[in-house]
Amino acid sequence: MIEVKSLSKRFGKFLVLNELNLHLRSGECIALIGPNGCGKTTLIKSILGMVVPTGGDILFQKKSILKDIEYRKKIGYMPQIGRYPENMTIGQIFDMVKSIRNVEYKLDEDLYHQFEIEKILHKTMNTLSGGTTQKVSAALAFLFDPEVLILDEPTAGLDPLSSEILKDKVLKEKAKGKLILITSHLLSELDDMVSEIIFMQEGEILFHQEVGVLTKETGMDRISKAIVHILKKR
């Protein structure tokens, strides 16, 4: 589905991504983890075309994304910190994104209803709390029933109930055979969701492994323990 080929990104003197190679297959729910500032968000933003890579290429369904925009129709993105035009209301944001995407098939309004967004459509974005903004981001990401979902720290800031709703939705979409890429620092909540783990450090990939193999090799039952085990061994 998505192939990353020797991708590099440099911000000034600072090398954020160093010759990354990855292959993300559909039907997998992949956790992208690593310490702060290891380049997770930069990698995600490169896939989305928000950051222009210094070197290398990214293929989406075997087509390079560098000169293309159509592939973004197939991606739903939930940013870590959703930044929205402050004077627009939630309703306007939804209308605008819908009119840009301009899709004819039925929209996936599960989260939209479960988060009760229809009740707060008139609120402007600058009056929203961090959690409500996250709900808007999540509802927008899932709205167009995309083949790929990219969730950057999805549950940070969400209350426990909403966080559960989101997790259930992720599992449901995973069962449909979609590719889901999640970054998170809360390893404990990844256990029941993810099928593969990518661990990044200082702009490089330390390992990319299936969860089953990982837990078997380390003899640990939980992802968090397995990762701590591996990191200690190195």
Binding site: G49, M50, V52, E70, Y71, P85, E86, N87, M96
Partner: protein, 255 residues
Amino acid sequence: MRRILKYVIIDIIKNKIVVFYTILIALFAWSAFGLEDNASKGLLTLLNIILFVVPLFSVLFSTIYIYNSSEFVELLVSQPIKRNKIWNSLFAGLSISLSVSFLIGAGIPLLVYAEPRKALMMIVVGVFVTLIFISLAFFSSILSRDKARGIGYSILLWLYFALLFDGLVLFLMFQLNDYPIEKMMVMISALSPIDLSRILMLLELDVSAMLGYTGAIFKQFFGTSLGLVLTFFLLLLWIVVPYVISLRKFRVKDL
């Protein structure tokens, strides 16, 4: 692009400053004509006000608006939409709203008081100056991520074109007045859109005699239809070049 443009324009209109700007220009224009008994004098007064206020407001408002739209841009960039379209919509939105403000504020009194040809020329010049300084705002706001720095660049650009450039030209004239520099002055004036617009209007108003011998050279050059076409071409370059530079930088900008 039209879909995004709609939201940009709604956003600018909701921001009531543009309405105040329209009222301010209207006040200047009506009082310039009301206080002078002679329409030509009124035009001259208005010209000086327009060449001072319009660039300042256009460049500052646009720069701040572009910085404040960073969230809007960020939201759109991850959607299936070309970056060119996002940047063009912002430019078109600002251009349309500020030009309409100018047309309502200054256009109506101009058409009421001044001769149609002169009024039309003044309106065209005003719209050009508006677009040029919006374009310069795009240029200075892409140079830096830092809002304060970007606004600083805009203020410096305006200071340079509105005040410093004239000073430099005067300085050159005094220093080199032993040499035949009149032809050179024509070239130099092309380096400032405000001066170009001023010369264009002064020639149109038939007061170039005020500029002395240089004025005669100007008339010889800009007074012809070729000169007129060339002047508008130069003004057009002042819109296109800064904007295209900013567009190229925006296409590869990391958000």
